[in-house]
């Protein structure tokens, strides 16, 4: 009987560890979120959304950083989405079994997890060094480069989910491939494609590393794409590491805003995606 007891004991022990591991993971999620809410909510006030980032030691808000983030994220999406969607379309529709698609798929998956700071260096070399100064445009392009692999991946995956009989039916009517894709495949995969874009927005709106030396930072409100522009993550980085209480408080508030935005975006994307796959 001893061997049964030993096996049962070992089973209980290791499975217990699995429960502990799950508890560990969930505890950190809850801990981080609670800390954020506790520290961030203290500083939430209308001033955060109506005033500029302050000089050291005085009160202020995050308006220029929030606007800067919105502008650069929007531009990044505009830059990266069309390229990503077209590339994903090629891989799922025209070149599904081609060599090119296989190579692009492999490279794209690597780009998907490549360190984002390297993208910052790349854009610095290509744009900032050439133009001679930091600019919001460079920041937006850097974000766009990060968007591309995300959108390529989801576009391909979602188009592959579209049943082939739909395409065949359209082709039997005499429609050329481009119309089959545009009028049938894209429409059938619409929710999935939107999910991909939302995921890309969630991914880049928290990105700091690629903005550090492309868009830099700007203490004032600016809409000039040719000049440095503030962004929420970079401001958080600068303020959190500063010794000033007011700045640190703003960093926490900014962190709360950004996390709330990113997490709700990814939850919305998930819900949209889930509807698609279950129906």
């Amino acid at each position: 009987m001893a061997i049964y007891d030993r096996r049962r004991g070992r089973n209980g022990f290791y499975l217990g560890l699995c429960y502990v591991a799950t508890g560990f993971g969930l505890a950190f999620l809850v801990w981080i979120l609670l800390t954020l809410i506790y520290n961030g909510a203290k500083g939430l006030s209308p001033a955060v959304f109506t005033q500029m980032t302050p000089p050291p030691g005085s009160e202020g808000g995050l308006l220029n950083a929030i606007l800067g983030s919105l502008v650069m994220t929007g531009l990044g999406i505009v830059v990266g989405t069309p390229l990503g969607m077209l590339a994903g379309t090629y891989m799922a529709e025209y070149g599904r079994h081609s060599k090119l698609a296989a190579v692009v798929r492999f490279i794209n998956d690597i780009l998907l997890s490549a360190p984002s700071i390297v993208v910052g260096l790349f854009i610095y070399e290509v744009m900032v060094a050439r133009m001679g100064h930091f600019s919001a445009l460079a920041g937006a392009v850097a974000l766009g480069v990060i968007v591309v692999p995300v959108v390529v991946r989801t576009t391909e995956d979602m188009l592959l989910l579209v049943p082939n009989p739909l395409r065949e039916a359209a082709a039997a009517l005499g429609l050329p491939r481009s119309h089959v894709i545009g009028k049938v495949a894209y429409r059938a995969a619409r929710a999935g494609l939107i999910t991909g874009v939302l995921l890309a927005v969630a991914r880049i709106s928290g990105e700091t590393a690629p903005l550090l030396f492309t868009a830099l930072n700007n203490q004032f409100y600016s809409t000039n794409l040719d000049a440095p522009m503030a962004s929420l993550p970079v401001v958080i980085f600068q303020f959190a590491l500063s010794p000033y209480k007011e700045w640190q408080q703003l960093a926490w508030t900014g962190a709360l805003i950004i996390t709330a935005a990113v997490l709700s975006l990814s939850i919305i994307a998930r819900v949209l995606g889930a509807q698609k796959s279950s129906s």
């Binding site: 089973n11 699995c18 591991a21 700091t208 958080i236 962190a255």
Partner: protein, 335 residues
């Protein structure tokens, strides 16, 4: 007479030059042109992804040339990092990157696999999705949030409770006393590794869970049928069956850990030296670049930082390529 059908045109040759026939031909030609244009457009976009990678590599290589010309391969093996005398060596950041990532994996792999086992074998069915999503949300939190949390919440706790304990407990144990030596700063290699571990956890979990799900139920049921316990099924059936995929997932997590920037920058301490103690401040490649790039003066300094970027990209590229290759092999096996 009504509208003409396609068949009518085919039979009635007199309709060949009718406006309907010409319209039809024009439309077909337009379709053909449109299709070719769209096809070329998508193909160009797909190739652009390759160009993007080529561009990243080319720009990093060109940018790092001055540094490699000045220091040669010594750049990889020297430890000095002195902006004043313009002497740069990458050893300390490389060491920091490798050590923090390795330590992070040491913690993240067992915990990540544990969660995956929980989600596939133990969790009551209605809870699987919510818990899975919650773990994946950990991956959605921006890395700067981990940084600020690590600096203000985790580091003080580690400094107060964990580090004095480690130093005290191991002060008489030969090897461990050097690993856990020195004053408890709070920030340092160990704290950075811990945060990295939490950050890569969801990647390991979600890939392991996905590959665990590919194990055919028949195999598991057969094992249960001969009287295996759940743990024995996991250990002897599930994990051997999915080994390649699990390793792929782990490498994917490793690739993330190596390149992670902001969270590490906050808590590593940014000291350009290699310390035997894990409690001492250090630096990583990405943290060095993030901290110093905008303040770098002079070509050699900038170029050295870009060279660091090239090294980082090289390491992560190899790791990620291996990870993808393994996952691809598993997919082929499943298909």
């Amino acid at each position: 007479m009504g509208t003409k059908k396609v068949a009518d045109f085919a039979i009635d040759t007199g309709a060949l030059d009718s406006t309907e026939a010409l319209d039809r031909r024009a439309t077909l030609r337009r379709f053909k042109v449109l299709d070719t244009v769209f096809r070329l457009l998508t193909m160009t976009a797909a190739s652009a992804v390759l160009v993007l990678l080529g561009g990243v590599i080319a720009s990093l290589v060109i940018g790092s040339l001055p540094a490699f010309r000045a220091f040669g391969l010594d750049f990889l093996t020297t430890q000095s990092w002195n902006p004043v005398t313009e002497k740069f060596g990458a050893l300390a950041p490389i060491y920091g990157t490798v050590v923090t990532s390795a330590l992070a994996m040491l913690l993240a792999v067992p915990v990540g696999l544990g969660i995956a086992i929980f989600l596939t074998e133990l969790c009551p069915y209605p809870l699987r999705r919510p818990i899975g999503i919650a773990i994946e949300l950990l991956a959605g939190i921006p890395s700067i949030i981990y940084g600020i949390w690590g600096l203000f919440v985790l580091a003080p706790l580690i400094q107060q409770y964990v580090q004095p304990g480690l130093i005290g407990t191991f002060s008489n144990v030969p090897v461990l006393s050097t690993l856990f030596a020195g004053p408890p700063y709070g920030i340092g290699v160990l704290t950075a590794s811990f945060i990295l571990a939490i950050m890569v956890l969801p990647f390991i979990t979600s890939i392991s869970r996905d590959v665990f799900d590919t194990v055919p139920s028949v195999l598991k049921e057969a094992a249960y049928g001969v009287g295996c316990t759940t743990w024995e099924v996991v250990r002897s059936v599930v994990i051997p069956y999915t080994r390649v995929g699990v390793i792929g997932g782990v490498m994917l997590g490793l690739g993330r850990a190596l390149g992670e920037t902001m969270a590490v920058t906050f808590v590593i301490g940014n000291a350009h030296k290699i310390s035997a103690s894990l409690l001492a401040p250090g630096t990583t490649i990405s943290a060095t670049i993030a901290n110093e790039f905008t303040e770098a003066v002079g070509d050699i300094y900038t170029s050295s930082l870009i060279a660091l970027g090239l090294i980082l990209f090289g390491i992560t590229f190899v790791i990620l390529a291996l990870a993808r290759y393994m996952l691809m092999r598993l997919e082929q096996k499943a298909a």
